[in-house]
């Protein structure tokens, strides 16, 4: 995607055109202004279609990456900096033996075995709020909804949250063999 046809470029250009047209409409239109306005509208139509094309491209690209997140061979959770789970992939749900609805919105610390929770929370405090999370890892026991706790290595790194773009935390959870 080159910079001239990027959505940002299109948005800036079309916004400028729209403002120009609005300004023109506020005044009495002579023949020349009317022609200018018609030409600008035509141009706007072309850009509009192009922007829609760019949006469609972004949708397809995002679907590809979303599929990668969902089916990555490793268990991933994305939380906000408060530790509340925002997203979970298939491998994470399998590891937790839980349905997505049971996990999303829940504090990640609740998925940690009782004995390890205090230490886990203490480590989490160092990651927030809004701190630049650097990759690091530690071991704790995970508490699936059924069965015995599972020892796992937790690795974290910073990631922007999808809906807001604000800082979130990406957790890679790998069971210890």
């Amino acid at each position: 995607m080159n910079s001239r046809t990027s959505p940002e470029w299109l948005m800036t250009t079309v916004t400028a055109l729209r403002e120009l047209m609005i300004k023109r409409l506020e005044t009495e239109l002579d023949a020349e202004s009317k022609r200018d306005l018609e030409m600008a509208l035509e141009e706007l139509d072309v850009m509009w279609e192009e922007l829609q094309g760019q949006a469609a491209l972004l949708v397809r690209e995002n679907e590809r990456y979303a599929a990668f997140f969902e089916f990555a061979p490793d268990a991933y959770l994305i939380t906000d900096t408060g530790g509340s789970i925002r997203e979970a992939n298939q491998a994470a749900l399998e590891l937790l033996k839980a349905a997505r609805n049971d996990v999303v919105g829940k504090p990640l610390a609740e998925c940690v075995a009782d004995e390890d929770r205090v230490a886990f929370l203490a480590r989490m405090v160092g990651l927030m709020p809004g701190v630049n999370v650097r990759p690091l890892g530690w071991r704790a026991r995970l508490r699936p909804t059924a069965g015995e706790p599972v020892a796992a290595d937790f690795s974290v790194r910073a990631i922007p949250l999808k809906k807001s773009g604000v800082g979130g935390i990406c957790w890679l959870i790998r069971p210890v063999n």
């Binding site: 706007l44 139509d45 972004l58 089916f71 061979p73 490793d74 773009g165």
Partner: protein, 131 residues
């Protein structure tokens, strides 16, 4: 098209593009910046996506990896096994992790290959170099 309608639609499209761009940033960040080496292939093993960590292990340029069958990056003597395992994965085998040797330009690299089937028939792979 009336200007007022256009303005309303414009704001909607603008919001949509901004949301999509945010999503893209997250996924790109997730995939590209991952310290884990991942790549995505189709069911025949042809590479469609490869992240930076995987590029480091495979020691080839990203654009040269796209479209290349993953199997040809495995040393010759292990290719038959790779094909056999790939077919088994596509057929739904739960045996999805094994040791393999990558023929990298700077020498052989021992890796653990771990695969997982994706929804639309693709396969996501993790390459873990042996220490």
């Amino acid at each position: 098209m009336e200007l007022a309608d256009l303005q309303g639609m414009w704001f909607k499209l603008q919001a949509q593009v901004e949301r999509l761009a945010e999503e893209r940033r997250q996924y790109l960040d997730f995939f590209e910046q991952s310290p884990e080496a991942y790549l995505v292939t189709d069911g025949l093993g042809r590479i469609s996506e490869v992240n930076g960590a995987a590029v480091d292990i495979l020691q080839r340029r990203k654009h040269l990896l796209r479209g290349k069958p993953l199997g040809v990056l495995v040393v010759v003597e292990e290719r038959a096994e790779f094909r056999h395992r790939l077919k088994a994965i596509v057929d739904g085998s739960t045996e999805r992790s094994w040791l393999a040797t990558i023929a990298a330009p700077e020498g052989r690299v021992e890796v653990t290959l771990t695969a997982r089937l994706m929804g639309a028939g693709g396969i996501c792979w993790r390459l873990q170099a042996m220490e």
